[in-house]
């Protein structure tokens, strides 16, 4: 996709002249690119406060340098930081094991339906939760599973013992994971369904003629057809492994306490924006960001080694 911009028919014009010729286009691009620089690249520079003893009333440049001091919570293993790291790692593993494969299974189910109409109706219903905000999703879960929610009211009216789900710190990680599954599984099937529709139907016919059972066809035709997209999405997922859902967790943190609910992003928010430990929070955020980029680049490299396309080409 970069190829087209390479062809420059008027190569002989000087740069100044070409800039003058394209002044309208430059003007077009200006507001958008200014916003991207201002809110994506400039904040990167703001990471210097990770190396400073930042005082809000002094500002970034007037605050004293403090070297690696802010990073000591990471290197010396501050208990609050380790707690956040532990919860993040637990949640990210749960998400990789349960959230990641869910849309693949659902897409296989939808794809195997014979009635186009039922498939369409099911899709319209299952895509819907993706467009709800986390505030709405959390509120809906409370109404369904909370102490006076639908489930417990039903149990109570039938003289059964109620189940404590919302606000129960032991079930919190499971609750978070199921909320993500509820919200995004349907929507995430789109890419897999598109990949499934690309599989040549002759492959199925050939396999069927050769006497492959339905399970064998799934294994030897369907899954190889999904390989590229699965690897691509898994790489993207890896890059996000330390991001486990800020909005979702901060909304429910009060109810279960920080022991089970503090993750790296909420640690940064609670200690920095709320607690005023700006430098430490920025240091943790910076390390988290760098690890994320390294993970994507490494995963992409590994994908190349295994002959897959990955996120971007070399």
């Amino acid at each position: 996709m970069l190829q087209r911009s390479k062809t420059r028919p008027q190569q002989q014009l000087s740069l100044g002249r070409r800039l003058l010729r394209d002044r309208v286009l430059l003007l077009f691009a200006l507001p958008g690119i200014a916003l991207i620089i201002a809110f994506h690249y400039v904040p990167l520079l703001g990471n210097v406060i990770a190396f400073k003893d930042y005082q809000p009333f002094l500002g970034i440049s007037a605050s004293d340098w403090s070297g690696w001091e802010n990073f000591s919570v990471i290197f010396n293993g501050d208990p609050a930081f380790l707690r956040a790291l532990k919860n993040t790692l637990i949640l990210t593993s749960l998400q990789s094991i349960f959230v990641f494969p869910a849309p693949i299974l659902l897409a296989l189910l939808l794809n195997s339906l014979f009635s186009e109409r039922i498939k369409r109706i099911a899709q319209s219903i299952l895509y819907l939760p993706h467009f709800m905000s986390w505030v709405i999703v959390v509120a809906l879960f409370q109404q369904m599973l909370g102490g006076s929610g639908l489930l417990n009211n039903y149990l109570r009216s039938h003289d059964l013992s109620t189940i404590d789900i919302i606000g129960n710190s032991e079930l919190f990680h499971v609750l978070l994971t199921s909320q993500i599954i509820w919200k995004d599984t349907g929507w995430a099937t789109i890419l897999f369904l598109a990949a499934l529709s690309q599989i040549d139907s002759q492959l199925y016919e050939a396999a069927s003629v050769d006497g492959a059972s339905r399970m064998k066809q799934l294994w030897h035709v369907t899954l190889p057809g999904l390989r590229g997209i699965i690897i691509l999405l898994f790489i993207l997922r890896l890059g996000d492994s330390l991001t486990v859902g800020f909005e979702q967790i901060i909304l429910q943190q009060q109810a279960v306490g920080r022991d089970v609910s503090e993750v790296l992003d909420t640690y940064v928010y609670n200690n920095g924006v709320l607690g005023g430990a700006w430098g430490v929070a920025a240091a943790v955020g910076l390390v988290k960001g760098i690890v994320g980029v390294i993970l994507v680049l490494t995963a992409n490299k590994v994908a190349h080694i295994f002959g897959e396309q990955g996120v971007y080409q070399r």
């Binding site: 070409r18 809110f39 703001g46 109570r156 598109a194 339905r214 955020g285």
Partner: protein, 300 residues
């Protein structure tokens, strides 16, 4: 099932599974769909159910015995929720218009093959998708430009999405070249080509991207939580968190009315007010979104 009349023994090369398998699949799908739909039904029903029924059920009602809009009347009486609704509507409409304008202009410039700065600018856009700036530096930047406790903090920092720019650019590049060329021969400048040729041909992609932006603005919670201390500026999502999730009581002082329906129905009505706009635009979204997502995925 609709397949009864014609017996398609083989579809897509796969032999038709037997009835037990088909019924099993249907049941699984039915359960999934119910898990998605029941919460919405419960919330909408409770918001219009009579007090007595809500008290008897202990909370959520699935089928209201009669319908009353008392909860909605108290929400729209001019208190906290009314104001939050206006904030959310303002942010969504103004934000979406600004986002579309800025994104389309940038995407159009990047779609011109001879654009002198095309390549470096495209790299700046693409590279920004690889990392996120981090909460603290982002907060300090927004503070630095003086947007804290301003309604514009909900719009400006998230105004442009690099992903959407890439999707728009791909769409613009796929438009037939002859049209823009002939406009140029007729003496049209870039602005005229953009507004008279490119935009009218891009209605479909503009509506998808516009709807994506609108949903993001309507649902925005992170920016509001981070940048707004003044509760007068709160959008609906923050009101929802305070009065529904954290269960803070909404009294007549907050609502601006003496008529107080039960908390449960007020809470559910706030939820409905924030869900319904999405439900209204959902059919439009759905008609185009698969296409939008796919162009993005393939070209991005």
């Amino acid at each position: 099932m609709s397949t009864k009349a014609v017996p398609p023994k083989i579809v897509q090369g796969v032999p038709m599974p037997g009835w037990p398998m088909r019924i099993f699949k249907g049941l699984v799908l039915l359960v999934f769909c119910a898990v998605v739909i029941v919460p919405f039904v419960g919330v909408i029903s409770t918001s219009v159910a009579p007090n007595k029924q809500i008290n008897e059920s202990g909370g959520l009602v699935l089928l209201p015995k009669s319908i009353s809009f008392a909860a909605y009347e108290s929400l729209f009486a001019g208190g906290v929720v009314t104001r939050a609704l206006f904030v959310s509507i303002f942010v969504t409409i103004v934000g979406t218009l600004l986002s579309l304008t800025v994104s389309c202009l940038l995407a159009y410039a990047l779609s011109r093959p001879s654009f002198v700065a095309g390549r470096p600018i495209l790299l700046v856009v693409l590279f920004s998708m690889l990392f996120s700036p981090g909460i603290i530096p982002l907060y300090l930047t927004v503070k630095g430009v003086g947007l804290l406790d301003s309604i514009w903090a909900l719009i400006v920092p998230t105004m442009i999405s690099a992903f959407n720019v890439v999707v728009l650019r791909a769409f613009f590049m796929n438009l037939p070249n002859e049209l823009t060329e002939s406009a140029r021969i007729d003496g049209a400048g870039e602005l005229k080509t953009f507004t008279n040729i490119v935009l009218p041909l891009s209605k479909a992609v503009l509506s998808v991207i516009g709807l994506f932006y609108a949903v993001a603005y309507w649902n925005a919670f992170f920016s509001a939580l981070l940048y707004l201390n003044d509760s007068k500026l709160w959008p609906l999502q923050l009101v929802l968190r305070t009065y529904v999730i954290n269960d803070t009581q909404l009294g007549s002082a907050e609502l601006g009315t003496e008529l107080l329906p039960p908390q449960a129905s007020i809470q559910m009505a706030i939820l409905v007010v924030s869900i319904v706009p999405i439900l209204i635009i959902y059919p439009f979204l759905q008609r185009h979104f698969a296409k939008g997502v796919l162009t993005g995925a393939v070209k991005g």
